[in-house]
């Protein structure tokens, strides 16, 4: 399992595809679209959170693999600390990841990986976030909130729509620099933002690798302790119109405001395990 990449805990609000990119050639920033994205960014995602995640990886032939992860997340000022442990499959059980995700865009995140088979905590250096997250169809940039200043936002020509009985805004995003494209792996995107709660319930993103797109949709969205949480979602990666791979993410035991201490987010804890 290739894990030498940035791991940032899975924001339950699943920030993923939050700031995907948009078509070039369209007009630059639209203040109204940006205002909506600011509300998306400002949405309460909760703090001191624990959760269990199940990740089902399905290839184009239907072969399935299952990953189970227990995660912990805590805000530390503007920064976010997160810790996760693999529970399944057996050959990676007790593998742990610790991430300090700094709000300062000029500061590299700190990441450590503990591999029980090697009895070693290894520091991970990877500011590139375009690699697959744990073999899923998400990449590491999907797991982090982005700086809205890195993108231009405009409305798609079809400004709004109704999806599953909810009005959504359809917003296009486009990175303002090549560096952001290289870091995230996406060249453009479309976001479907629910108008009542500002959750991105669907998105399409175009990969830097020509011809590949990713389609994310939330299948189950619930309010837990007043915070909107995606409990079931899927991401389909396509080449043209053909599915290449699919990931289903399910969350369980999502709890906020838990009694998480600073000592949990340390390499000491990483090595001790759950």
């Amino acid at each position: 399992m290739h894990v030498y990449k940035k791991i940032n805990i899975l924001s339950l609000g699943v920030v993923m595809f939050l700031t995907l990119l948009t078509t070039a050639g369209l007009a630059a920033d639209d203040p109204e679209a940006r205002a909506i994205m600011q509300k998306v960014e400002g949405r309460d995602e909760g703090d001191h959170r624990t959760a269990d995640m199940e990740m089902i990886l399905i290839d184009k032939r239907g072969k399935q693999r299952l990953r189970k992860i227990r995660s912990f997340r805590m805000d530390q000022g503007a920064d976010t600390y997160s810790l996760m442990f693999f529970l399944h499959p057996a050959d990676v059980k007790d593998t742990g990841f610790l991430t300090y995700d700094y709000d300062d865009p000029d500061r590299d995140d700190d990441q450590w990986l503990y591999l029980p088979a090697l009895h070693k905590t290894k520091r991970i250096a990877s500011s590139d976030k375009s690699g697959s997250f744990m073999g899923s169809d998400l990449n590491y940039s999907d797991m982090t909130s982005r700086d809205l200043q890195d993108y231009d936002y405009t409305f798609y020509k079809e400004k709004q729509k109704v999806i599953d009985g909810h009005k959504v805004w359809i917003i296009q995003s486009r990175p303002r620099s090549k560096a952001v494209i290289e870091e995230t792996g996406y060249t453009k995107g479309i976001l479907f933002v629910r108008q009542d709660n500002h959750v991105v319930v669907r998105s399409v993103s175009w990969e830097e690798k020509a011809g590949y797109t990713k389609w994310m949709q939330i299948n189950r969205l619930e309010r837990i302790d007043g915070i909107w949480v995606a409990l079931d979602m899927q991401v389909i990666r396509r080449k043209g119109k053909q599915m290449v791979h699919k990931t289903i993410l399910r969350f369980d035991n999502v709890r906020f405001n838990q009694d998480l201490e600073d000592a949990l987010f340390t390499t000491r804890r990483l090595e001790k395990g759950l």
Binding site: Q64, D108, G165, W215, Q217, Q234, M243, K246, K272
Partner: protein, 488 residues
């Protein structure tokens, strides 16, 4: 003719590849200008349009969210929370030697299948109470190739060392007697240092060197019984280690194709079975934003042997001895963007050699390494180490010591995952000597997850002979290997 030469020239091949690459890159850039609409065409509508006036355009980007595959999603697997858990794996490992020459009479024929090994590993983990844990684990293996090929084909040493194995691996009790204190007692593995391929400061556990280049990295270190106490303060951790069990490196057995010679080794001095030889070690480790650092001290028995003449007469009588050494080390990691810098340094005191009798030598070991993770799903690392004997004496070059003043080692590792990490390819090259004059090995392996429990590994390892042991006679040992592992 010129055209023909050009076609065959590596430069022109490179140029063609460059042009193709640039062209392809141009296509990538051009994709940024693709209009969305054509991409959206052909998708079925699955959303409900807003009333007229709110929704005045009809193209749709909704149905791409639908999954046209017919696969049934597997049921959720409930993991039962328990204070006890038994994990492990069963593994079948095989190897085929393809480079050996026809043996002479009386020699082992190493050609063809050289390993048909079944292995079972069991691990019991128990949570005793808050923050106290217990682990009991063991491993057993049987290699059927010796029975199949006939025991007469092999030396007794080979059969004793490779046919069957049964031993305790990690077996310990661990807990926190105080909030800033961790205690761990039992057979365990402690890894020091920041490097991943070469060992400069990772000195506490002996190694299994019976099959260089073939041993899985998780099996490389041999656990030893020790008491470990860690105190945490701020960003620092001070660890104390009392290593009660003295184990030595496991070397190739006499008669194996990795054994560097035609005669059996001298007898090895057995370690003290009591606590009289207990080793001591200290580690001070700091973890900071962007970098980590550690300082080490150890008073330990050398896991590697030296040869000593223990005879008082004219006829030499050799034995393998393990000296008590003092070790001082430091290790540093610095992360910068996609780069990880690794550096280690060590100073050893207490080496003795046959040719210099009672003279005691020191050694300075240095390592520098770089790791790059900026390519998608790929990591490349390069490490270079040098071990320098202080006040080197030219007599050390002679048999049986065969020690050089500067012993250089380099390792290059490339790991790339494919197919959403179902497949991982690793290339590892280790060179001994400043070129590869002291030997080298290259290993290519492919790990494929058949499903969550089954994994298959295939690979090839190739050796180049060198001037010094253990690479003097290994050039024929190239082999392909196939492992099948079931984890539970």
């Amino acid at each position: 003719m010129i055209a023909n030469m050009k076609a065959k020239s590596p430069f022109w091949v490179f140029l063609c590849l460059l042009v193709l690459t640039v062209t392809w890159y141009g296509r990538l850039d051009a994709s940024d200008d693709i209009e969305m609409e054509p991409l959206m065409q052909g998708f079925d509508e699955s959303g409900e349009s807003l009333p007229a006036g709110e929704d005045n355009q009809s193209d749709d980007i909704l149905s791409g969210f639908e999954d046209e595959s017919q696969s049934e999603v597997i049921a959720e697997t409930d993991l039962v929370e328990s204070d006890y858990a038994v994990d492990g794996y069963a593994k079948f490992a095989s190897a085929y030697n393809y480079a050996h020459n026809t043996p002479q009479a009386g020699e082992t024929d190493w050609r063809g299948v050289s390993k048909l090994k079944s292995e079972l590993y069991l691990e019991l983990n128990a949570k005793l109470q808050t923050d106290w844990r217990f682990r009991f684990s063991g491993k057993g293996s049987y290699d059927g190739i010796y029975r199949i090929n006939g025991y007469d084909e092999y030396t007794d040493d080979v059969r004793d060392n490779y046919e069957t194995d049964l031993f305790l691996t990690e077996t310990w009790l661990a807990g926190s007697p105080a909030s800033s204190l961790d205690l761990k007692v039992g057979r365990q593995i402690v890894v020091w240092g920041k490097s991943d391929n070469l060992r400069i400061t990772d000195v506490l556990n002996p190694l299994d060197l019976r099959e260089p280049g073939l041993t899985d990295i998780e099996d490389l270190r041999l656990p030893v019984f020790m008491t470990r106490l860690d105190y945490y303060f701020g960003s620092w951790n001070l660890g104390g280690f009392w290593i009660h069990e003295i184990r030595y490196n496991q070397n190739p057995a006499f008669g194996s194709d990795f054994y560097p010679g035609d005669t059996p080794p001298p007898d090895q001095e057995d370690p003290d079975e009591g606590l009289g030889e207990t080793e001591y070690a200290l580690a001070l480790s700091g973890t900071f934003s962007g970098w980590d650092m550690a300082f080490y001290y150890a008073d330990i028995v050398n896991d590697a042997f030296r040869i000593e003449n223990v005879s008082d007469s004219q006829i030499p009588e050799l034995c393998l001895k393990h000296d008590r050494l003092d070790f001082y080390g430091t290790a540093l990691n610095v992360a910068w963007g996609n780069w990880l810098l690794k550096a280690e340094a060590a100073y050893w005191e207490g080496f003795r050699y046959v040719n210099t009798e009672d003279e005691i030598f020191s050694r300075v070991d240095l390592l520098a390494g770089l790791e790059y993770a900026g390519f998608q799903d790929m990591t490349i690392s390069l490490e270079v180490a040098n071990r320098h004997v202080v006040d080197y004496d030219s007599r050390l070059e002679e048999f049986p010591d065969e020690i050089v003043a500067d012993d250089t080692q380099s390792a290059l590792r490339l790991t790339r995952s494919f197919m959403n990490e179902a497949l991982e390819i690793t290339v590892l090259a280790i060179l001994y000597g400043s070129g590869r004059d002291d030997g080298a090995l290259q290993r290519l392996s492919l790990d494929y997850d058949i499903d969550d429990a089954w994994r298959v590994r295939i690979g090839v390892v190739a050796y180049q002979a060198g001037d010094r042991p253990p690479f003097e006679h290994v050039e024929d040992n190239d082999r392909v290997f196939l492992d099948l592992k079931y984890s539970f």
